[in-house]
Amino acid sequence: MRYFLILFLLLCAFWLLLSGYWDNDLLLAFGAASSLLVAWIGSRLIGADPPRSYPVSIVRITAYSWWLLVEIVKANIDVVKRIWLPKEHPISPCMARLPLSQVSGVAKAAYAQSITLTPGTVAIEVTDDDVEVHALTKEGLDALREGEMDRRVTSVEKGHR
């Protein structure tokens, strides 16, 4: 029920933001009705096992996003170099299983998502305690193996508890 309510309110807010019509009764009713329908379908899909909600530290998430953005830019430049200058910067595709230190499923997903979001590394399989990564270069895989990204995601997660 709580999940349903949150979803409904979020959808209403989203609808209002995107439509830009605030003063047309008919349209507002349609928006509310469709939000209600989608929220109902959504809560039925979730079933009896609603996802747990986590208190979020906005500051930590922002700091992490910022760091991730810088990493994405760096990784992009690296991959572009390897595309245009294959002689100077050869690729060396490789795979490895790396340990992960997050506890909750959400944090694990966030870590895998971050790995994939930086070009040059793709998370292929995520299990409870490790993640299988395919990397374009050995250097990229080694950088990931040092575990800075892992630590940062875990620290964001720990800030929650």
Binding site: L17, L18, G20, I72, V73, N76, V79, V80, R82, I83, W84, P86, I91, S92, P93, C94, M95, A112, Q113, T116, L117, T118, P119, G120, T121, V122, A123, I124, E125, H134, L136, K138
Partner: protein, 101 residues
């Protein structure tokens, strides 16, 4: 000020297009499927970000910028999921990557 903004968004759009073309060239040029995912990742992350960012600069603080931000957010949330699903599906189908060693 307006000129500076125009120049900046011009640079961002050009950069985005350059990255997009680079990624596409990589997708054609890289030897096997798994390496091509990385090249496609370039076009989905920074290229899209620069292009949408350049548009955002032009739109200023309006509903339009908010929508552009939503597009970028959706793109950055969904594209890694798609890449991951792609790689996973390929792996499960027994299509093994070519490794360097």
């Amino acid at each position: 000020m307006a000129l500076l903004l125009d120049l900046l968004s011009f640079a961002m759009l050009l950069g985005g297009v350059f990255l997009g073309i680079s990624g596409a060239v990589g997708v054609i040029r890289f030897p096997d499927f798994y390496t091509r995912i990385h090249a496609a990742g370039v076009t989905d992350t920074l290229s899209a970000g620069l292009i949408l960012g350049g548009l955002m600069l032009q739109a200023g603080l309006t509903l339009v910028t908010l929508k552009l931000a939503f597009i970028l957010m959706f793109l950055w949330i969904t594209s890694p999921v798609a890449s991951h699903a792609l790689a996973r599906a390929a792996m499960h189908s027994g299509w093994h990557p070519r490794l360097s060693d």
